[in-house]
Amino acid sequence: MRLSAEGVELRYDRKVVARNLSLEIPDNQVSVLIGPNGSGKSTALKSLARLLRPAGGRVLLDGASIQSLPTKEIARRLAILPQVLTTPEAITVEDLVWFGRHPHRRTVGAPSPQDREMVEWALRSTDTAALRDQYVDQLSGGQRQRVWIAVCLAQQTGLLLLDEPTTFLDVTYQLELLDLLARLNGEEGKTIAMVLHDFNMAAEYADHIFVLAAGELVCQGTPREVLTKETMRTVFSLDVEIGVNPRSGRPLVIPLRRRPVSLPA
């Protein structure tokens, strides 16, 4: 495993989110963290990306404690797409994607041919090359999210973490984005770990699912192993039926309303 958390304690100031959380991100797979609000899934992802320093335990990247590695060095191995992003005013798509090369460049000096190549590749891979001269703040939500992924791709890392990348997107764009990530995993072998809200998106795209509740890892495994009536009831307090997606054969979570309503005959 390239990236793992070992017994980490996570907290914001005094508020403890997790006491003793361990998880290992499987290499070259798509993993998804799910859990109810406040379960600590985003916090866990942040600690894996060294955005939050654990109060106890440690996060390991390639066998070394992530807190002991220079942050620039980490940025060449691991890219993170945070949930909250600030788009600079009047910046073009291409200029934004160039920021992805930051960890590879020196403070002073012209970009290398490899920098250019990676930016071009990132633009092509995310299908944003045609938008390169447009201003980012004038793009649609789906396009903008693809541009941000291009920034992460330009970082040229094997690991890509994403914190709720689909939250503000229409279903069409959610699928488009997740398809893109699946392709990056399939073709480039990128290890992807992300937080998602939607069970069925997780079921459809994840190789491995972590279920978190109250800062603890409740269960993990393939979508079929994890997305069960039992998990849904205990973790999410949801009554569900589990069906099967007729195309992919993956589980389909159908939430049921609480009280049966009798319809007029």
Binding site: D13, K46, A49, R50, L51, T71, K72, E73, I74, A75, R76, A79, I80, L81, P82, V84, L85, T86, T87, P88, E89, A90, I91, T92, E94, D95, F99, G100, H102, P103, R105, T107, V108, R116, V119, E120, A129, A130, R132, D133, V151, C152, Q155
Partner: protein, 342 residues
């Protein structure tokens, strides 16, 4: 296959941006040379340009070359250093604090420097004048350290820095008022200093000020791309390999030293550090790598222009440069407020 219209190649757009920027840099440099040359001719008595050239080439009489070399030239060099320092410092702070209305005033630099300088002038009048800049510098840096410490809670946020800075500035302002009331005997000199003036500055002040600027200015220019990355928000900046808090601390520290040095040399030249970055941004856009040098250049033009104007309006009377920048700056500031308020 669908035919896709060829988009302009990346090289060509990047290059066109670069030439546009280059043109503005050239224009600013050209203008600076013209204003500098003109400024040499403005003194308590108007100096014909030919005489100035004579003095510069060593063909003038003693009195004239003394006037040029001992008064005009150090003063102009100081305008350059102070203007560049204030402009660059404002650009960096506006970027770090993420507030277009930020300036060294917001962090308390200006008022802090004012307090210690007045303290020295009014309470320790025996202190040699050469220590005044040192006192001002110490005050500016101290207040900023206090502001940063008070705003720090396992990291700072731009808004907390700004709020604590405004509060600290108000406290310093209160101390300044108190000192002026309590020690009225030397109030005139203090007021001129507070207004911001280059009157009577000599090579001595140049020698204390210029090294600060020469050392700090390249540092903030080289910080440009890192500050641009910081503009993406702390999480993304860390993701791209910046130690967010460390970079912020470094940028603030260098900007504050620049601003304190400038305030120490010329007093509180109001609005230059606020407005220079705005003008520069309008000309060449908001990317820090390009903006910081341009803001420095605009700062030079504003400062030098204000000082030249102050000397030239009604010689031999001199109007402090800080009053001129305030007269130009205040309306511009209001205009900015109205635009950002919308």
């Amino acid at each position: 296959m669908t035919a896709i219209a060829p988009s302009p190649s990346p090289a060509s757009t990047a290059a066109s941006h670069r030439t546009a920027r280059g043109r503005w840099y050239l224009a600013a440099a050209g203008l600076a040379v013209v204003v500098t040359a003109y400024s040499l001719t403005v003194a308590s008595v108007p100096l014909p340009f030919g005489d100035v050239v004579d003095a510069l080439t060593g063909r003038a009489d003693d009195a004239l070359s003394r006037l040029i070399w001992d008064y005009q030239i150090p003063r102009i060099i100081l305008c350059w250093a102070v203007g560049a320092g204030l402009g660059a410092s404002g650009a960096v702070l506006q970027s770090v604090i993420r507030n277009p209305l930020a300036s060294p005033d917001v962090l308390g630099v200006t008022r802090g420097a004012g307090v210690t300088a007045l303290f020295v002038v009014l309470i320790l009048p025996a202190t040699p004048l050469s220590l005044l800049p040192v006192a001002a510098l110490a005050g500016g840096v101290t207040v900023t350290v206090v502001v940063y410490t008070l705003a720090y809670r396992g990291g700072t946020t731009p808004i907390r820095l700004a709020l604590v800075g405004v509060a600290a500035s108000a406290c310093c302002e209160a101390v300044i008022r108190f000192l002026l009331m309590r020690y009225p005997q030397n109030v005139n000199g203090s007021l001129i200093w507070l207004a911001g003036s280059f009157f009577g500055r000599t090579w001595q002040t140049v020698a204390i000020t210029v090294p600060w600027v020469v050392v700090c200015l390249p540092v903030v220019v080289f910080l440009g791309r890192r500050l641009d990355v910081m503009g993406l928000g702390d999480p993304m900046a860390v993701g791209l390999g910046e130690r967010a808090e460390g970079t912020r601390r470094l940028a603030i520290a260098v900007a504050v030293v620049l601003a304190s040095g400038a305030v120490a040399a010329a007093g509180t030249l109001s609005f230059v550090s606020l407005i220079a970055p705005h003008i520069a941004r309008r000309l060449i856009g908001g990317r820090m790598a390009a903006l910081t040098p341009m803001a420095a250049a605009v700062g030079v033009l504003l400062t030098l222009g204000a000082d030249t104007l102050g000397r030239g309006i009604s010689p031999p009377l001199e109007i402090p440069a800080g009053l001129i920048t305030a007269v130009i700056g205040a309306p511009y500031f209001l205009y900015l407020l109205m635009r950002t308020g919308r």
